[in-house]
């Protein structure tokens, strides 16, 4: 999986900025995508490309349980969010709904990856290659259940 980075160098990017509350009444996935990240980056929708990755600090997706948040990112083209840590409901919604991959990275990778870098993510090897900088980072391996649900393609396709 290859893509370019949109980096937000901040912690606690919450669901109110990923998809503001006023849009919770919307359930058209493509319409939600037009409001993704509106709370901190009004230009997100115009700059995001299919296959891009978001890189951010700790506790990404904290706040509400709105599945609108991973849906809006996923329908904007985001394939993975790489963060120092994730809030639990965002993490779970991303995986169970098969919207995007929530990938935990370490401080060194977080600081080294820059906006616009091209990354190649290999979840089998738990490896992230920075093709722009010719560097390699480790991602934190998915736990057993998360790995199985991702491999199945979401909770409904997973056979316990």
């Amino acid at each position: 999986m290859k893509g370019n980075v949109i980096k937000y160098e901040r912690d606690n990017i919450d669901t109110d900025v990923i998809l503001p509350g006023t849009y919770l009444k919307l359930h058209d996935y493509d319409e939600l995508a037009t409001h993704a990240m509106e709370g901190i980056d009004p230009n997100f929708h115009s700059k995001v490309k299919e296959g891009d990755f978001i890189v951010a600090g700790k506790n990404f997706g904290c706040g509400s349980s709105r599945e609108h948040a991973p849906i809006a990112l996923s329908h904007s083209g985001i394939k993975a969010v790489l963060a120092l840590s994730f809030a639990r409901i965002f993490y779970r919604n991303s995986v169970d709904g098969a919207f995007l991959l929530p990938i935990e990275i370490d401080e060194a990778a977080y600081h080294n990856i820059a906006n616009g870098d091209e990354l190649e993510i290999n979840t089998e090897k738990n490896e992230i290659k920075n093709l722009t900088k010719n560097k390699k980072y480790q991602m934190k391996p998915f736990s057993e259940i998360i790995g199985k649900i991702i491999a199945a393609g979401g909770l409904f396709k997973f056979k316990p």
Binding site: N12, G21, T22, L24, K25, H27, S64, R92, N93, I145
Partner: protein, 423 residues
Amino acid sequence: MNITEKILARASGSKRLSPDDVVFVNVDKVMLHDVSGPGVIKVFDKLKKQGISVDKLWDPSKVWVAEDHFVPSAEKVSAENIVKLSNFTKNYGIEKHFKYGLGQYGICHTLSHEEALVLPGEVYVGGDSHTNTTGALGAFACGLGHTDVAYILLNGKIWFKVPETILFKLNGKLPAHVMAKDFILKIIGDIGTDGGAYKAMQFSGNGIDEMSVEERLTLTNMTTEAGAKNGIIEADQKVIDYLETRGATNFTPIHGDSDANYSKTFEYEASEMEPIVAKPFSPENISVVREAPSVELDKAYIGSCTGAKLEDLEAVAKILKGKKVKIRTEILPAAISIYKKALEKGLIKIFLDAGVTVGPPTCGACCGAHMGVLAKGEICISTTNRNFPGRMGHVESQTYLASPLVVAASAVTGKITDPRDLN
């Protein structure tokens, strides 16, 4: 095992569970509202296209539905969502649907305790992050997204990783000017908005025993703001009495073992507690009220699952009685049953005499939906639970979170005010 482990063990048929064990758990109760309901309907539509049957639910008697976020319907999209929700409950035979304009209705988390919809020892999941609230009744209560709730509606079970539990002990009774809201803000200030992430946050000690059930609900409610999977308090006689007066008698509370494990224990002395505010833009950004910045407030908001229960309104009335508010102030009781009790106790008259606008139960402006959202640059003090950028309206508005006593005192002065400093 502690109470969270014991409930999950009971519900998964496991003899013993420890943190990090992954289990499929049979769910006792499920809640949907006017945001997560249409979200689940959308998931059902997707499943149908994939050839997965969504003809009937695993057990409609265990499902209940609230209308709270965008009601009374804010505009035509939310009106259509309410129609969708009504069709959904009709088609699937869900009888417990609390509709606005038809008797009792209110914020989902408030209904969970007001209507005794969830009982001690149960596994309760809801399509809303503040589902944690109901853990104050001694249940495992946890918020989930649309896909997970849809899965439960069809299968009756869901996977959980058993959380480790942090124990928060309160020694002594909180002073009269301090509320549970101050205590939970203090805790979030200490551990941070990810301090409880993926964990259970349990409250105990004689300070909790002394606390009313409604105040305990404020504690568990805001475990969500610390990132917790669930907040929980073992049910005592107060909880049993509370549920009995609401018609629920058939339940068996679960208690942790005396040798239960807690990953960490925090102890607090009630006598040292002070009124607290969380400043913009995070619930962890706390300050003692007397050291809070001297800002000119534009609005005071008393509402939400966190801060519009009957005792919250009583605290506000205690302050506002015979006074006038200096800034725009809204009070939205969290459920019709609470509104009615407030009316019977004369609280609504006190609010109206003080110049307050009293509105219907709704999540309203707490989540920036409608009913008093903030304009660019406006500063609000609120009994609600979050103050991230844009939470209550414009991304450049600001929200200070505080207890009902502090919000009421601040409404009178127009500045952030400790209730002890109000003449």
